[in-house]
């Protein structure tokens, strides 16, 4: 197992370096001069002279050759220095420390709401296969899959404001600081996120359940005279859950990087918001660092899943 872990961790390192290279190159291919974006201001009303522009470019190191810029970034990362935002001069580590916990809270709440919706309706749908209930739940799942998250978010905001004359409180509170205010702010976006994700989970759960309830051991349980509730809960669901849990891990990773639009709509100051703002003004250090972090989270989750599989299934680690 030890050799397998070492082997797997070593494949992680080139993947991470590859990611840095891809991000760096993409950021230089994307048209848009960060110096011009910053000088013209967020609302485009900034004024500047050509002299200001040339000075800023040189201060930002944009005149250096690309390999120099890349090596400088790598050097900073090696020293755990994430750099400084071009837009407001703040250290990116500080911005990350502010934003990441917010996104994690939203992603976890979104994940919980997706599980709470997707797993039960997946089970019920399978048990009541081809019934009206099944059709309704499948329709809901397809609706969730088809509706973009931003659209669901906008509908939620519209209903809350127009029909209930309600709007989430201004300012953000962490769950551990002011749980009530935090739930008021995060509850609805979490539901909107969950609604969009639960379709995938529901379909996976339903498919697994349909497969499992055809298995011999389920038939045996039934033939023993066990009540259907016990057969389903104790024998079918537990076995059907394994692939769903794997999927859930991937979905959680996706949610961590996929809260961007919801954060904009519901005024949640998370990583997604920071990333969108940074893209808008071409704040390259923030964009490349945040994308790198999201990519590393995915890589890490994959590594974790692989190691878990290796631990569970000796054939994988031996091969």
């Amino acid at each position: 197992m030890g050799a397998y872990i070492i082997r797997r961790v070593f494949t992680f390192i080139p993947s991470a370096i590859g990611v840095t290279l891809i991000i760096f190159v993409i950021m230089r291919i994307v048209p848009g001069d960060p110096a011009l974006m910053i000088l013209s201001g967020h609302d485009g009303e900034g004024t500047y002279t050509q002299e200001d522009y040339l000075l800023l470019r040189s201060q930002m190191g944009l005149d250096d050759p690309l390999p120099t810029q890349y090596l400088r970034w790598m050097g900073e990362l090696a020293r755990l220095d994430l750099g400084v935002s071009l837009e407001d001069d703040r250290p990116i580590s500080q911005i990350f420390n502010e934003r990441f916990p917010v996104t994690v809270q939203l992603a976890i709440l979104g994940f919980i709401s997706a599980c709470a919706m997707g797993i039960p309706i997946g089970i019920i749908s399978a048990v009541k296969q081809d019934s009206i209930v099944d059709y309704i739940f499948r329709s809901i799942a397809i609706f969730g899959l088809a509706m973009p998250t931003f659209f669901v978010g906008l509908i939620v905001i519209l209903i809350l404001s127009v029909y209930f004359n309600w709007f989430p409180p201004i300012g953000f509170a962490n769950l551990w600081e002011d749980p009530l205010k935090s739930i008021q702010q995060l509850g609805w976006p979490a539901l909107a996120l969950g609604f969009s994700v639960n379709g995938t989970m529901m379909r996976m759960m339903r498919a697994q359940m349909l497969e499992v309830i055809q298995e011999d051991y389920v038939r045996t349980a039934r033939s023993k005279g066990l009540p259907e509730r016990v057969v389903i809960n104790r024998h079918a669901v537990k076995n059907a859950m394994l692939p769903v849990i794997t999927l859930a891990g991937t979905l959680l990773g996706g949610l961590l990087g996929g809260t961007v639009v919801i954060e904009m709509i519901f005024n949640i100051p998370g990583m997604g918001r920071a990333l969108i703002d940074a893209i808008y003004v071409r704040d390259i250090p923030i964009i490349q660092t945040f994308i790198l972090i999201i990519a590393l989270i995915y890589l890490f989750l994959n590594l974790l899943i692989d190691l878990t599989y290796g631990w569970l299934n000796p054939r994988i680690r031996l091969n």
Partner: protein, 606 residues
């Protein structure tokens, strides 16, 4: 844990999330209906301009001077004339009440805590309430320039020395004395830009002044040559003064940005809390130098980047005020008015500056002045106004009509091309444009083929442009790019026609010069330069007499009209709204103006 329990826990968590979110004790209610404020007063003319000199005899002199432009008698404007809607609201006659929190919203965070580094109007709005101006446009009359932290000022007879007397006994929020040396330090900082860190809003100062020295309670700013717009420059809303001590500290540290705790000033509100990209809160400054003010206990800024969310926040009363630059579109305003009636007030604000199409005079076919003149004269600006600004836009002339002492709107409205803004397409103008194009060698069978570089914003003027140009033999391809790509193209001069919109920082034509027309401007994308214009600029900038200066500027406007590179169309009018329980607030007469809320109070907001 059994499966049933897992399901129960998960379901309960979702239900409780939904219930708690709905069961807010403080949020469900909309603001109580306050006594309705009187409706907006009748529109008044922008009062910013000093008394107008004698009007020029020939309004379309510029067109007449242009050799290639055919002469034609101006067509009489129809009654559809667009009025200036800039004005004031009738104020409550009640005695101002103390207390309460005013919540305003904006699309983005102020970003920098060192206001000198700020570039955005959000930054201006927030820091206007933390720092003092030396002078500013009065927040009640919105016309005259009055002292803020300066009590008096005088100009030497040669116009080279400005002396400002600073208020005695000013103390910052953190208890430090604030006086003339602080003011001088600010001026010199804006002039020198320590550590080569750009201080963007000090441009007019750098173009005009040499330096500042403090003597006792006075500050003396010296100029190498007289600059008639200097008072307008030094009193512009962005010109806010921060304590010397903290500026020295950050400048010694590479001119880094300040921390929230370091933000200090002498203004009506004290920085309390800044949650980046979410909200910030300012608390009342109990030691504010204006006795009895501010009335509010707190000012909050909510950062709401999404337009639908902003409308929802305002509609539910979670937010009290929509600042002008976050302007909702007119249909949205109409919908809110319909839903909320006289509980909300909306007023339009002039957004002076320039908006239209830049023609790259360095490349064929736009290097032919006749082609550029044809575009300038042939455009139907009325159609732009109706389609893009719901009929509330303002003509974007070389100098916007807020400077009546150069050219008034009425005068501009008689010029070929510009007169269409009043009455729609003027057939004579279209014929002139066609004739100019024919002279340049184009016609219905061999149209000029060119491109226009456009953004992806909602107000799609390029879509309006294309069929209009086709009417006078120009086949334009619309190239859409995002802002970053467009700015790069502009900087590389890689375009033929270019859509752009820019606002001026302060109320003087010199703000136009530095923003657009001078070779030093970053937005003079095509490096346009004209010897007569430059000579005119040098001549007018020191003229203290408005009549003389107005005449010089008229000549310069004529040059810009006859050698059109900045083909102005319309500037938007900005919708600025607030709940009617917000009292004492007089909207500014242009969008980059002073936003100090020391005199604002709330009547009946829950």
């Amino acid at each position: 844990m059994g499966f049933k329990r897992i399901i129960a826990v998960l379901s309960a968590s979702v239900l409780s999330t939904a219930l708690v979110a709905c069961a807010s004790s403080d949020a469900a209610e909309a603001p109580a209906q306050p006594a309705a404020a009187a409706p907006a007063a009748a529109a008044a003319q922008a009062a910013q301009a000093p008394s107008a000199p004698e009007q020029p005899a020939a309004p379309a002199a510029a067109a007449a001077a242009a050799a290639p432009v055919a002469q034609s008698a101006p067509v009489a404007p129809t009654p559809q004339k667009i009025e200036l809607r800039v004005g004031t609201v009738e104020q409550s006659t009640k005695t101002a009440e103390y207390g309460g929190t005013l919540v305003q919203m904006d699309t983005n965070d102020p970003a920098y805590k060192d206001h000198h580094k700020g570039r955005t109007i959000t930054n201006l709005i927030v820091f206007s309430n933390i720092h003092g101006n030396l002078l500013h446009t009065d927040t009640q009359t919105r016309s005259e320039i009055v002292g803020d932290i300066a009590t008096d000022w005088e100009v030497s007879s040669d116009g080279l020395k400005y002396t400002f007397d600073i208020r005695e006994g000013l103390v910052t929020h953190q208890g430090h004395d604030f006086g003339a040396s602080d003011v001088a330090y600010n001026v010199n900082r804006l002039l020198t830009q320590p550590n080569d860190k750009p201080l963007p809003r000090g441009g007019c100062l750098r173009a005009a002044a040499d330096g500042a020295t403090a003597t006792g309670q006075s500050v003396e700013i010296t100029l190498p040559s007289p600059v008639s717009s200097f008072i307008q420059c030094i009193s512009m809303a962005y010109m806010l003064f921060q304590p010397q001590g903290i500026l020295e500290t950050v400048d010694a540290d590479g001119s880094r940005d300040m921390t929230t705790e370091e933000v200090d000033g002498v203004g009506p509100f004290v920085m309390d809390k800044w949650e980046v990209d979410s909200m910030l809160s300012l608390k009342k400054n109990a030691n504010y130098y204006k006795e009895g003010k501010p009335y509010l206990d707190e000012y909050q800024l909510a950062v709401l980047p999404d337009a639908s969310t902003r409308i929802a926040a305002f509609r539910t009363g979670r937010v009290d005020m929509v600042p002008p630059f976050t302007t909702p579109k007119k249909p949205e305003v109409d919908a809110m008015k319909e839903a909320l009636g006289d509980k909300v007030t909306f007023q339009q604000i002039l957004a002076p500056g320039w908006r239209g199409f830049i023609a790259n005079q360095n490349v064929a076919p736009l290097d032919d002045v006749r082609v550029r003149q044809a575009i300038n004269i042939g455009l139907d600006r009325y159609e732009f106004n109706q389609l893009n600004f719901d009929g509330i836009g303002f003509l974007s002339a070389p100098y916007l009509g807020m400077f009546d002492w150069v050219y008034s709107f009425d005068e501009y409205f008689t010029w070929p091309g510009y007169r269409s803004v009043v009455s729609g397409q003027v057939e004579e103008d279209l014929a002139t444009a066609q004739s100019l194009m024919k002279e340049a060698g184009y016609g219905p069978d061999n149209p000029l083929v060119t491109t226009v570089n456009c953004g992806t914003n909602v107000n799609d003027e390029c879509a309006v442009l294309k069929p209009q140009l086709a009417e006078f033999y120009i086949d334009v391809e619309i190239i859409r790019k995002d802002r970053g790509a467009r700015l790069t193209d502009a900087n590389n001069m890689d375009f033929e026609l270019w859509h752009e919109s820019k606002g001026i920082e302060y109320g003087d034509p010199d703000a136009y010069h530095s923003l657009l027309y001078l070779p030093t401007s970053g937005i003079n994308y095509t490096d346009w330069e004209n010897a007569d214009f430059s000579a005119g600029y040098d001549a007018q900038k020191g003229l203290l007499d408005l009549t003389e200066r107005g005449a010089a500027l008229r000549d310069m406007a004529d040059i810009l009209y006859n050698d059109p590179v900045w083909i102005g169309v319309l500037r938007p009018s900005l919708n600025h709204g607030w709940w009617s329980y917000v009292n004492g607030y007089v909207p500014p007469n242009f969008h980059q103006a002073t936003y100090k809320y020391d005199h604002v109070w709330l009547d009946g907001k829950n």
